[in-house]
Symmetry: C2
Subunit: 115 residues, 2 copies
DNA sequence: TCTATATTTCCATATTATTTGAAATATGGA
DNA sequence: TCCATATTTCAAATAATATGGAAATATAGA
């Protein structure tokens, strides 16, 4: 991931409504949610929601697919992982260090404390 | 970490100059860098740099300490880790999943591919 | 104290983002 | 085709953010 893409991704997430939308989609997993359901869960009126979803999509943080009358949105997990990687890249000059940790897969819930 | 703090942290990073500053500090590790050195490495004039450093500090992404005539800035790694955790929290409803990974410490460089 | 260096504050300007109602568009079913 | 529902687009007001020169402040050393 390049700096420009990272700034786009971060800017997409750096807003109350969009962060709420994205977190709801992360929790929903690959199945995703219809736009209306997202607006309901996040408390955002349709036109605002549409604006924010477009911002997230443009930054590659979410994908969408048509399903009948519904548009299903999903979090884009590979952009997400690329962003996490970018932020911790070459930490401490690439030397072993405790301060920052590279994301690594777990099969357990992500709510445990760390470092 | 709460949503408000996460939005602040993300907004702090969602800007070309500030992201460049933060990455330079992540790479510098706990030793940190003087403001002037950061400006030199990131190509940012003093007054702009000061503005952006203040933004990063206000969001808790960097800390500073006086060292003689210099002000040494360091990345705040615990805010960073809290942010990464927040973004992946309760991924896929808390069930085991491959898409998103919880940050976990490694002792190797952070440039390897993942998931 | 005086000087040089390091950093921050102030200021004005330019640019970009957020919000939401109303209207437009798209889809599926009767 | 006609209707109801789902979503997006448009428009315009408001608010927040970015920039960088010039001046102010702070520190160390002579």
């Amino acid at each position: 991931m390049e700096a420009k893409a990272a700034v786009s991704a971060l800017a997409a997430l750096a807003q109350d409504s969009r962060l709420a939308v994205f977190r709801v989609l992360v929790q929903a997993g690959p199945a995703g949610l219809a736009a209306g359901k997202i607006g309901e869960l996040a408390g955002i009126p349709p036109s605002s929601l549409s604006f924010h979803l477009k911002e997230l999509a443009h930054a590659g943080m979410v994908d969408s697919r048509q399903a009948g009358r519904f548009v299903i949105y999903t979090a884009n997990f590979s952009t997400m992982n690329a962003l996490l990687g970018f932020l911790t890249e070459n930490c401490c000059g690439g030397n072993p260090c405790s301060p920052v940790c590279a994301p690594a897969c777990e099969t357990e819930p992500a709510t445990k404390g760390r470092s």
